[in-house]
Symmetry: C2
């Protein structure tokens, strides 16, 4: 008798986000497609020579350690580096505050496992990062959505939303994925104050914070939290679970990221991580450390900021030049993405198909909402295409938008 697999699958698998987006994106992998759909860093700027040297050095001097099992918490020098870098702000971060994870996707998955009982609510921005929704879906989360505008999550709407009793708030403060917006300094202060008042933790997801092209660098929420609660010079014990990654500053292919949180939270996450994958690759952690150290990461990030800024400017100029007047978009001060508001009534799936026919791709915005019938939107990545392709892609996309608008059947009057 063959196993009736469908009837054996656990309930949580029935709640998993459909793979529609995955399927859509497979259509965009033909080489002739100009894809603004992925979230890829520019591969041509990976510091390959530095990775070569780092691999060489690690294997020449510490191979027996690098290829062996290692502690779940992570490679100590890397944890120290992370603690030291965050401690440059007005916050005390010690090694016991830091857990290395297998990419920030694992960080989100472990945090979901730590906090979410089936049916628990998570407060999320509208729109929010799709990967977080996938991570939390495994734990059968429900959502409370709060709108965002050009200054990030609308904090005025938080008190009402918090009445749903969310287990935590999931916030991307910098150059948010997907919308590219940044939470203002004033809103950061209010958000942390509200979290304190109500005793609701915040999960701060900050993959892009270092990739600011212009304007003033703003304090991470974890730092604001430490300051408001009176940073006493001991290891951080506050309300915020901070997540960041080397994927956008060095390379995503090594899956190395980290969590900073209160030690009791880290301890429980370590137990969960032990069950999830024992530990992150010893070798990749050591290679990342060797690549990042001695200030290289800061130097490299300065280079990336210039490249990505140039590409963002190119995309903004092309949008200005080609897009019909009803289309609007955000003006990200950093990161990888901008967000496009399409004319009301646009059928985004139809637009996607028309765009792919014209060899240009984006991600339909509805995937990033937890509320039904979101407005027609699109996420565009500007980091991974050369400038001439960006211009040509926006020209094609504009053609697709105009074509779909022209063909749209007007809604008959009642």
């Amino acid at each position: 008798m063959e196993t009736l697999w469908e009837s054996r699958f656990a309930l949580r698998t029935q709640r998993m986000t459909s793979s529609l987006i995955r399927e859509l994106l497979k259509l965009t992998q033909r080489p002739e497609v100009i894809s603004f759909a992925g979230g890829l860093p520019a591969a041509e700027y990976f510091p390959v020579d530095r990775f070569q040297e780092a691999c060489q050095r690690v294997l020449a001097t510490q191979a027996h350690y690098a290829l062996q099992y290692s502690p779940t918490e992570g490679y100590l020098p890397l944890r120290e580096m992370i603690a030291e870098r965050l401690s440059r702000y007005n916050i005390c971060v010690e090694v016991e505050n830091v857990l290395i994870t297998t990419g920030s996707q694992q960080a989100l998955s472990l945090i979901g496992a730590l906090l979410i009982n089936p049916g628990d609510h998570v407060l999320v921005e509208q729109p929010t990062y799709l990967g977080a929704l996938q991570a939390f879906a495994t734990y059968q989360a429900e959502y409370v959505g709060v709108p965002t505008d050009d200054h990030g999550i609308c904090v005025d709407e938080l008190p009402a939303a918090l009445r749903h009793g969310p287990k935590f708030m999931y916030i991307l403060p910098n150059f948010q994925n997907p919308a590219g917006v940044t939470l203002s300094a004033g809103r950061r202060e209010r958000l942390i104050a509200l979290a304190h008042q109500q005793g609701v933790p915040i999960v701060e997801d900050d993959p892009y914070g270092q990739l600011r092209f212009e304007g003033e660098h703003l304090k991470p929420l974890v730092v604001e939290d430490a300051e408001q609660s009176g940073n006493n010079g001991k290891a951080y014990t506050g309300n915020v679970i901070y997540v960041s990654t080397f994927s956008k500053t060095l390379a995503p292919g090594l899956r190395t990221a980290w969590i900073v949180a209160s030690p009791p939270v880290i301890n429980k996450l370590v137990q969960l991580k032990q069950g999830a994958d024992l530990h992150t690759s010893t070798f990749t952690q050591m290679v990342i450390y060797e690549v990042a150290k001695d200030g290289f990461i800061d130097e490299h990030v300065r280079r990336l900021r210039q490249v990505y800024r140039q590409r963002r400017d190119t995309m903004l100029a092309a949008l200005d030049r080609y897009m019909p007047s009803e289309v609007r978009w955000t003006q990200p001060e950093g990161g990888l993405f901008l967000w496009m508001h399409l004319p009301p009534g646009t059928d985004v799936r139809t637009l996607f198909e028309e765009a792919v026919r014209r060899d240009v791709a984006f991600v339909p915005g509805d995937a990033f909402f937890t509320t039904p019938n979101p407005p027609p939107t699109a996420r565009l990545n500007f980091s991974c295409m050369p400038e001439d392709a960006i211009i040509e892609g926006i020209r094609r996309l504009s053609g697709a938008i105009q074509d779909v608008q022209a063909k749209a059947v007007p809604v008959p009057a009642p």
Copy 2:
């Protein structure tokens, strides 16, 4: 107001295996301790030069791919290699049967997520692999334990155990962790027939199958299953989910393992893995492929078999020489571990403390049981210590056992 973290943690975290073993093992990390406690491969036999060349080659020729995001399913040439190797048996395994995971710990975690609803029963051997219990604990599994003897799980007891309606059976057929025993060919046949009759899937965990020192190599359960259900030359669609790893044949520090299963199972696992860590490190997958290819892995495994066999023989001889007559142990035909049955009434925690005082360590056996009051046992690793340390360690351990026996207060007559 600070977050009351304990009250925010999800129910599943209250069920997680205590970290007592972790704490115990920290006591054994002094350099003077001869540790039989870990499950470490011999670091001095890692093929370091081959890893050097592989890193060099991958970064010289495919760096933009190796350092970038990649598909959740895994690196295609590696999946093809795995499919091809298993297809040397009488089974048809295609690429769509194969998912690469971040170590086999992640494989077990994803399988737990796929199949276990809170309270579902999993049928396990007594004793069984502790890491699997930790992975399944995250999904709030209950257990049905079935005893093992020198020929693996006692299949005669399976029909009664299956009446508990377990969601699946978790079986380590080769040189089992912790007991070192191997499931006989006859029992493999009966186990698969029973699984078929009752429609209960089997999760086959096979990290050590290649490390056989003597005797006849036995068919994996997944192959037995394909044969019994009539292997039709199409991609495997049977009852068994097969898990294996490069950790014991090449190196554990790269966290690269795999699952072979029916395509609908793989598809659902891919969705779960996307939420768990997006994908396994592109770079480590490519390095593992470059190291393993062109027959190197087989050549290297032949070398490991010799080394580990020698160490096992040394440990068996030392046990014969030093142990008191009431102590018994298994005779593993491969793998990394043997299992020691201590005299009835031995307090294993007291023995552990006495052993650590004498600078020798093992893992107390009770951690590997899901049933209360297991017999006094110990797991000894023979792969990672040089031979003189093995002999000296067994001598010390024997002293500790005799000392604890001498001090034991006899149970007063009723």
